[in-house]
């Protein structure tokens, strides 16, 4: 036989549970803007019934019980969102980097290297056609100085951009380690919690968010253990395992090779921002090398014939651009001291006769000549091809980033559709639990009334 107060127990139990449910709804509403938050629901179950014998076995329902407070999460979506974060990180870095390189060249414009190359050869053409004209001579000096300074400036800007990439790599590695520590800490708390059979929903959300951020920085693989803790492998290196976190040693990441060394092993980064930085660094280095080739080839092609010429003061063996053995590339590319000091040091011809513009004409015609050192391209074509390549790459990575953004958005939408908080939903739920609470309270009142009636009956 069921006891007299079992109904009261049942009703008060239901009241308590509906209050928990209301609180969970409140928690959801409060976290509507929290990134990475998964909405939570209270799952109810019926209590084990009370069986008693009265003209056969009867099972009397014992009201409601709490099965669990669950978070709504799709683990497949979680994995896809990690993948897409990695691609996003990589292409975002590449796209902005290529945009930067493109901005450094600033083509097409009147202020770029391409225009300076044109002006340079045009100036020689002017001098060749009018060799004893001081104006034409100054035009060559000016155009040469402008060309050299634009190449030099582009190079130094590339260099500082490279340094900037390096420092963002350092920041990214520091963040990776920080996230590793965070995940290891969360692992510990989650293990304790799950050991007692509970579901630490908010901690799980926090850890998932950390792993997702980590995948944006570096290629990440996650393994979940029975006790609820994660093992996280970044580029194959066990950043977090059951023993805690093992940070990537500071300064061990080499952005040129895209590798880092931890406990004597070398790991190659293949995804995320760090991979993007590596690829961008390669692009910067490539551009620097191209500018070096351009500067040194200009030295070779102009200086060598120029030395055979005679300048206005009768000197021979004068360099037009500064030169040294071995050649120093674009970093200090400039006019030679003599030419910078006076346009009279420019040799327009071999003989030095005031009307001899032979050398200058040869220089002017050099613009059509293909150079073996430039991959059988002329100076202008070499540089244009280079700018075109940067532009095409920038366009490609921009398109890739847009695709990845669309994919990420798609996944985020799906995640939101399952895990996101809808205020309308929560309001409806709240109404439902409020009504249920009211009904249970009502039931409690009725049961109380019944009990009171019983007590009153006995008193008479």
């Amino acid at each position: 036989m069921p006891g007299t107060f079992s109904g009261i127990n049942m009703a008060s139990n239901a009241l308590r549970l509906f209050q928990r449910a209301l609180e969970t709804t409140g928690h959801n509403i409060a976290n509507v803007n929290t990134p990475g938050y998964s909405r939570q629901t209270v799952e109810f179950k019926t209590q084990y019934p009370l069986n008693y014998y009265s003209e056969g076995w009867k099972a009397l329902g014992q009201g409601v019980g709490l099965s669990q407070i669950a978070r709504i999460r799709d683990s497949y979506l979680e994995a896809s969102s990690r993948n897409s974060a990695g691609n996003m990180g990589r292409f975002e870095t590449l796209s902005t980097s290529l945009g930067q390189i493109e901005g450094i060249y600033g083509e097409p414009s009147e202020t770029g290297i391409s225009a300076a190359l044109d002006k340079f050869f045009d100036a020689w053409s002017a001098l060749g056609s009018n060799p004893n004209d001081t104006g034409a001579r100054m035009q060559v000096q000016g155009a040469g100085s402008m060309l050299a300074s634009r190449i030099r400036n582009a190079f130094s800007q590339l260099q500082s951009f490279g340094a900037q990439l390096q420092s963002s790599a350092t920041t990214a590695v520091a963040r990776v380690n920080e996230l590793g520590n965070q995940i290891a800490g969360l692992n510990k708390e989650i293990r304790l919690f799950e050991g007692t059979g509970g579901m630490p929903n908010d901690l799980l959300d926090k850890r998932d968010a950390a792993v997702r951020e980590l995948s944006g920085l570096i290629d990440t693989k996650v393994e979940r253990f029975q006790d609820g803790s994660y093992a996280v492998y970044t580029a194959g290196h066990a950043l977090v395992d059951t023993g805690g976190s093992h940070p990537i040693p500071a300064g061990s990441f080499d952005p040129v090779a895209g590798t880092f060394v931890a406990s004597g092993l070398t790991y190659t980064v293949k995804g995320g921002t760090l991979a993007g930085i590596t690829q961008a660094t390669a692009q910067v280095e490539d551009q620097k090398a191209q500018l070096n080739t351009l500067a040194d080839e200009l030295r070779e092609q102009i200086n060598v014939p120029h030395r055979t010429g005679t300048d206005q003061d009768g000197n021979t063996g004068v360099d037009f651009f500064n030169d040294s053995v071995p050649r120093s590339g674009a970093i200090d590319f400039n006019l030679s001291a003599a030419v910078a000091a006076s346009p009279r040091a420019i040799a327009a011809g071999v003989t030095g006769l005031p009307g001899d513009g032979g050398l200058a004409l040869a220089f002017s015609q050099m613009r059509d000549v293909t150079m073996a050192a430039l991959g059988n391209l002329s100076f202008q074509d070499y540089f244009s091809a280079n700018v075109g390549q940067v532009g095409t790459q920038a366009a490609y990575f921009k398109a890739q980033m847009e695709t990845e953004t669309a994919v990420a958005e798609q996944i985020a939408n799906q995640v939101q559709a399952t895990s996101g908080v809808s205020l309308d939903d929560e309001m409806a739920e709240m109404m439902r639990y409020q009504r249920s609470y009211q009904a249970s309270a009502r039931a409690l009142t009725v049961l109380d009334q019944v009990t009171e009636d019983l007590i009153g009956m006995l008193r008479r």
Binding site: S114, D118, G391, D424
Partner: protein, 294 residues
């Protein structure tokens, strides 16, 4: 699909951002008049424009070079013109001198005039162009080329060419060819005439000097013709260059510039889209179940 509040706001925001960015891009195109500001926005058009710009810059320079060539050939033409009248005058004098009716006194006066003409010829040979360069002394353009002494002409310049780049990879000799022999021939003809006039050598005058002067006039004519051909070539190249530069300017514009009507239409479309997005979002933001619960 279940729509969560965060998702709803994200989508509104993303769409507003997109519409705004499209609108802004369209505005930028109208404001700058350019289809792109970076190579990556349209690599093919940008590289075409880059090549066309490079060629145009070169043609501009070549056009300036043509002016240098024109300075030489133009001055040369004036000088040859003058020489022509000098030689014509000498020819007239030679015919007069060859006549038996002419007295020796008149011949002496003629010889004096020829001496003046000789001096005139030497002066013409020493014509200086812009910057004081001597246009008949070849590459030694700062050396005075001609001086006359004792009835002979000395040449101090050289016969090397002054080459001007007039077309990509092509040069034109702007100064007169063989200026030394040309002037020397004329001077010798005049000098012979002068001595014959002085000596009253009528037979020599009528048989040799008149014929010599005719040949000299032919030489001058030939030189003028050659020079005029160069001038014509320069004019032709100049107008051809202008035409090509116009073509290239058009190519650059076709590749870089927008069609304003099209751009403005696009901007208006973008504006409409932006307004619509804002309207939809503001309506969506307003609605909530909370407004209907008491």
């Amino acid at each position: 699909m279940r729509v969560s509040t965060g998702y709803q706001y994200d989508v509104y925001n993303a769409n507003i951002r997109n519409a705004m960015s499209n609108y802004f891009d369209a505005q930028k195109r109208v404001m700058t008049g350019k289809r792109f500001t970076r190579v990556s926005e349209d690599p093919v058009a940008a590289l075409t424009a880059l090549g066309a710009r490079s060629l145009r810059s070169r043609l501009e320079q070549l056009d300036k070079n043509l002016m240098v060539a024109k300075e030489y050939t133009g001055t040369t033409e004036n000088v040859l013109d003058e020489i022509n009248s000098v030689m014509k005058r000498a020819y007239t004098l030679a015919i007069q001198g060859a006549s038996d009716a002419t007295t020796q006194e008149s011949r002496d006066a003629m010889a004096n005039e020829i001496a003046t003409l000789e001096q005139r010829l030497v002066d013409l040979g020493n014509t200086q162009g812009v910057n004081g360069k001597f246009i008949f002394s070849g590459q030694a353009s700062d050396t005075k080329p001609f001086s006359a002494a004792g009835g002979a002409l000395t040449f101090a310049g050289d016969t090397l060419p002054i080459n001007v780049e007039i077309r990509p990879g092509e040069v034109m000799r702007a100064n007169l060819e063989n200026a030394d022999t040309f002037f020397d021939g004329l001077y010798t003809t005049l000098e012979t005439l002068r001595t014959d006039l002085q000596g009253g050598n009528v037979q020599q005058l009528s048989e040799v000097d008149v014929a010599n002067l005719r040949t000299a006039l032919d030489d001058v004519g030939a030189a003028r013709g050659l020079n005029a051909t160069k001038l014509q070539e320069i004019e032709r190249l100049h107008s051809e260059g202008q035409r090509r530069m116009d073509d290239l300017t058009k190519t650059i514009s076709d590749n870089e510039d927008i069609d304003l009507t099209e751009a403005i239409t696009e901007m208006q479309m973008a504006e409409t889209a932006y307004t619509a997005t804002l309207q939809v979002a503001s309506q969506g933001f307003r609605l909530s179940l909370m407004d209907f619960l008491r």
